[in-house]
């Protein structure tokens, strides 16, 4: 029992942090936000560099399946670093959801066909979850309005509550409608399947469970990174900005608000480590932990990002300032893959049994 990062884990965290703060600058994020169509919200050059130069795209996927090995603690450290910069990347959808689902529940042939392209960044996959999906054999009919990076995907991993398929984006019966999304670094497309042919995964429950676990942890870790960044930036601003003849950081109410952010963030860090470590160790607590972490970290991020705007005053709600990037990302994380109330209800079900 040792709840601290190992030297290797610390090195991964440092490497990822250095990479994203150097490369995922807000200028580049804003360029990706301004791009339209299929490239909306993706910094292609950053994605290439992340997948190939940095070589951390396969973290959390077994080497046998073509991944980099390592576990979800390491995945979380990478996601935290990306989240701190609000990086405009398809990491959540293409890697944490789709690649993980295929690695956990696909055939060897499916893995070989897809994972190298996803892990190298040459192709992007998007995750389509529709609980009401109808499958006649492997002909799929259904819709999701909220498919992350759906406009840029070559493949979709389509799941219902019990089945999982791969569907090429150019297959007959697949329609993709690009929308404008509040968080422009997280574009959501509307994907409609009308009798589209799917290639079934062999172990849908394993695929879905793994995708959701990785998705929840990735969101929680991104939220942690984002929340810490809002605190760091707001502290820096508060030391500089003078009002009423004093740096605003010297006002006690301001100090206490920042302290409240730190209190939540420290808990969020415990939550991410706990969830990732419990999942890696397949502990009994793992499912409770990932739901708890997703809900807690999303709330923390939203609170912190809202405070970032508030504590910057007028400049905080301008387009020019970065605060709104954090704020919108925090909202996107809150509503992605189940909102806080749903995740807490899952926690409650673990403790109290299902709500009749």
């Amino acid at each position: 029992m040792d709840f601290a990062l190992s030297d290797e884990q610390q090195m991964i965290a440092d490497t990822a942090r250095a990479f994203f703060s150097e490369n995922a600058t807000c200028e580049r994020t804003r360029q990706a936000m301004a791009a339209g169509g299929a490239d909306a919200g993706i910094d292609r050059e950053l994605w290439r560099a992340f997948c190939t130069d940095l070589g951390l795209s396969g973290v959390g996927i077994a080497e046998a399946a073509g991944g980099a090995g390592l576990g979800l603690v390491e995945l979380a450290l990478v996601a935290e670093a990306a989240g701190a910069q609000v990086a405009a990347l398809p990491m959540l959808g293409s890697l944490a959801l789709c690649a993980q689902a295929v690695a956990a529940g696909g055939t060897a042939a499916q893995r070989d066909a897809i994972l190298p392209a996803l892990l190298s960044g040459e192709a992007i996959a998007a995750y389509v979850h529709d609980p009401a999906l109808r499958a006649e054999g492997d002909l799929l009919t259904g819709e999701s309005r909220f498919v992350l990076h759906g406009g840029a995907a070559q493949w979709f991993v389509v799941t219902s509550n019990s089945g999982a398929w791969i569907v090429p984006a150019d297959a007959p019966g697949v329609t993709v409608r690009i929308q404008t999304t509040m968080d422009q670094t997280r574009p959501l497309a509307c994907v409609t399947l009308t009798g589209a042919q799917g290639q079934p995964l062999t172990d849908p429950p394993a695929a879905i469970a793994r995708a959701h676990t990785c998705g929840f942890i990735t969101l929680a870790a991104e939220a942690l990174g984002g929340a810490q960044a809002t605190l760091d930036r707001t502290v820096a601003y508060a030391m500089e900005r003078v009002q009423f003849g004093r740096p605003i950081a010297s006002f006690q109410a301001y100090k206490h608000r920042l302290a409240d952010m730190m209190i939540e963030i420290e808990q969020a860090r415990s939550a991410v480590w706990w969830a990732a470590c419990a999942a890696d160790e397949a502990s009994d607590e793992a499912d409770l932990a990932v739901h708890a972490a997703k809900a807690f970290c999303a709330d923390t991020y939203f609170m912190c990002a809202g405070n970032m705007i508030q504590l910057h005053g007028g400049i905080g709600f301008t387009w020019e300032h970065d605060a709104h990037l954090y704020f919108k990302r925090s909202r996107a994380i809150m509503s992605s893959l189940g909102d806080g109330a749903w995740h807490r209800e899952q926690v409650a079900t673990h403790i109290l049994g299902a709500l009749a």
Binding site: G36, R145, F146, Q179, T180, T181, M182, D183, Q184, L188, C190, V242, Q243, F244, G245, R246, P247, S250, F251, A253, Y254, G306, I309, Q310, G313, G314, G316, F317, T318, W319, E320, H324, F327, R331, A332, S335, S336, D339, A341
Partner: protein, 390 residues
């Protein structure tokens, strides 16, 4: 104490409703239901003039200046019917609610004659120049300078958050007219025409993609010597008086806008099933309660004729509505779910509820942040020691 309206007042209500509904289904049907403050500015200036032409622009003002000497109850009724008919917000709200009342209270007779009829008629649109980049919450540290030169005031400096300056005709500006003065002393209150070479307006794009606010630069900008309201050095006193007008009857009109927003949330919740979620039901009940309490707080504040004592309802009103509305935006998004985060088309433009969510983050900042409001409440309302300046 009495909340009901008299038969005469109900007659007045019918008269308001008739005229407003007639306009919104007739000549001005194109602006019905518009909520974004920057949308369709030209048509909405015409609407200001239509209101003025029919005597509905500022019914609480004295008849002499284009009003109707309306009672409080009548003003309440008009505000309710105005919003109920789906009429968009006033692009000249600064003129009607701040500039006009300030001129009425502090202006000279000839200033009243010069400005008030034109404001009432919707011919002169006003905006305000208070904040500066380094004086966001701290009006007393204003640096924009005004000096008298050749019978004119010459102004240099920069204002920020000048809402709707780009469609306004006049701006009132707090300037430092006494060289070397500090803090609240040495400030004066000037009315300046905007259309002149010395004034440049640059829009500030906001979190919601819209640009309601501006930076306004003054470079040897000029106005006539008699454009100064009150006396030289009276600026602080007048600015403080003006902020009190912000808590006037106009709050009721603002609340009717909130009513429409909450109704849109309720409709969305009924439509998508969120209305069956006990957690959402609690939050809607809280929001409804908060809105009602704003209404009755405003009525207390407006009915309070005993101005000798501190009016707690008035002092706490700004933070109350701002905090409530910010929470309303969060509720809206939680009711909508992810559907609130997408919009069709390529433009970054949002419908009423997502826009509420984004825009309302500003509510707790402009017009005195929540932090400043709490200082004011603690110091003026509770008599606690003042926050020291550095």
């Amino acid at each position: 104490m009495k909340l009901g309206f008299s038969p005469d007042e109900e007659l007045f209500r019918a008269e308001c409703a008739d005229w407003l509904n007639g306009q919104m289904s007739g000549e001005f049907r194109d602006i019905k239901g518009v909520t974004q403050l920057t949308a369709m500015p030209e048509r909405r200036k015409e609407w200001e003039q239509q209101l003025g032409a029919h005597g509905w622009s500022c019914i609480g003002w004295p008849e002499q200046w284009g009003g109707r000497d309306a009672t409080l109850a009548q003003q309440v009724i008009f505000a309710e019917e105005y919003a109920g008919a789906g009429v968009p917000g006033r692009v000249n709200h600064i003129g009607i609610e701040l500039a006009g009342p300030t001129i009425l209270a502090f202006g000279a007779e000839e200033q009243k004659q010069r400005f008030l009829p034109d404001i009432a008629a919707g011919r002169t649109i006003f905006c305000q120049g208070f904040s500066e980049p380094n004086a966001g919450s701290d009006l007393a540290s204003v640096r924009t300078k005004g000096r008298l030169e050749g019978g004119e005031w010459v102004v240099n400096g920069q204002k920020i958050w000048t809402s709707l300056a780009h469609i306004s005709d006049w701006i009132f500006v707090v300037t430092r007219t006494e060289e070397g003065s500090q803090g609240p002393k040495g400030l004066s209150f000037l009315m300046m025409p905007i259309d002149q070479p010395g004034i440049e307006i640059r829009p500030i794009r906001q979190i919601n993609g819209d640009a309601e606010f501006n930076e306004t630069f003054f470079t040897d900008a000029r106005c006539a010597a008699d454009s100064l309201i009150g006396a030289v050095g009276d600026g602080w006193r007048i600015a403080m008086g003006l902020l009190a007008f912000e808590r006037g009857v106009s709050t009721l009109g603002q609340q009717m806008g909130f009513r429409n927003e909450l109704d849109a949330i309720i409709a969305a919740a009924k439509a998508n099933g969120a209305a069956r979620d006990p957690l959402i039901r609690q939050r809607i009940a809280k929001a409804e309660t908060g809105l009602r309490l704003m209404r009755y707080g405003a009525l207390r504040m407006l009915s309070n004729t005993n101005h000798s004592r501190i009016d707690g309802a008035a002092l706490t009103y700004k933070i109350q509505w701002a905090t409530w509305r910010r929470g309303l935006g969060e509720l809206a998004m939680d009711v909508l779910g992810q559907a609130g985060e997408v919009t069709d088309g390529e433009a970054y433009e949002w419908g009423t509820l997502p826009n509420l969510f984004l825009y309302s983050r500003a509510d707790t900042i402009y017009g005195g942040t929540n932090q400043i409001q709490r200082n004011l409440i603690a110091e003026r309302g509770l008599g606690l020691p003042r926050e020291p300046r550095g």
